[in-house]
């Protein structure tokens, strides 16, 4: 017996509107990020020969995935939930993809990710993302049937050049 409703399969191919990061690739943000991941590679902060291949200093490879932060003028979930003892602080799924309504009561687990890299984001560049559902399938696991939801997100610079493509798999299970 399948647990995957046809109405859920209809989400395959659904693409979100492009989302533009609220800030450009900022030098200070890159410094804090690089120091937090403990990677002082000079390509992140030195001009000249060391970063010439990339057209100047760049951000760490995964930086574009973390640029989609809360913009000015948007609700503050930390304050809104300040009196909720169950608030876990987790950031919601980014990328503007709609919730798959027929599966909204299923549990969610991270099923892994695959990332392709094409170029670094340079200091000063804008970054946008474009997300879509690429597959929704049912599989059998040792603990019963599960649904795999595969989404793909392209990260592009302001000129539309592809920086990276991330493919995420989320596992949904009936609770």
């Amino acid at each position: 017996m399948t647990i995957l409703p046809d109405a859920a399969k209809a989400y395959i191919g659904v693409q979100a509107e492009d989302e533009i990061a609220c800030d450009t690739v900022e030098r200070g943000a890159v410094r804090r990020y690089a120091q937090a991941i403990m990677d002082d590679d000079p390509i992140y902060w030195q001009d000249g020969a060391v970063s010439a291949r990339y057209g100047g200093p760049v951000a760490p490879a995964l930086f574009p995935t973390h640029m989609f932060r809360r913009a000015f003028g948007t609700p503050d979930p930390v304050q809104e939930n300040a009196r909720d003892p169950d608030y876990d602080g987790a950031t919601k799924l980014r990328g503007g993809l709609p919730e798959i309504e027929p599966l909204k009561d299923f549990s969610v687990m991270n099923g892994g990710s695959e990332i392709e890299f094409y170029r670094y984001a340079r200091l000063g560049e804008t970054v946008k993302l474009r997300a879509r559902y690429v597959d929704i399938i049912e599989k059998q696991s040792s603990k019963g049937p599960i649904i795999l939801i595969v989404s793909e997100t392209d990260y592009l610079n302001g000129d539309g050049e592809l920086l990276m493509r991330a493919r995420h798999t989320r596992i949904r299970r009936r609770v």
Binding site: Y33, L62, H66, D88, A90, G112, Y118
Partner: protein, 161 residues
Amino acid sequence: MTRPARSICFEDVAVGDELPSLTRGPLTTPHLMRWSAAFENWHKIHYDAPFATGHDKLPGLLVNGSLKQQFVIQLLKDWAGSTGWVWKASFQFRAMNVVNETLSVWARVTGKRACPDFGLVDLELGIVNEQGKESTPGKATVALPYRGGQPVPYPFVAPKV
């Protein structure tokens, strides 16, 4: 943590080779807080110990999966050097790592593929703690230049393989 002085070539690599490992840790609460702040993610399980252990019944503050990914990419990037390129990397989060663990990223060459302008090196990889427990198995493909050849083109253009 600087770029390798000498770039590695496709011909330098053999199937079965182990890459130099990358060790990070012990990963303390300040490490996790610093990472949460750097990417503005306020999930409490990474810095609020009473919430992590009391509310979510976790064994301790969790090391972010997103931080572990960074260590993998760093190992691959530094190995590929200034003339190579990390094309693909995949990760699965199979087990938790908690605060104060020391993590080591490992990678091993599983295959080589020659392309017209550069070579592709396939790897398996993972992250183990001090007890050798694997938490983050994955795979990667790195493009390396041929000896005496041009650096891998940048921006990278995926080969037809």
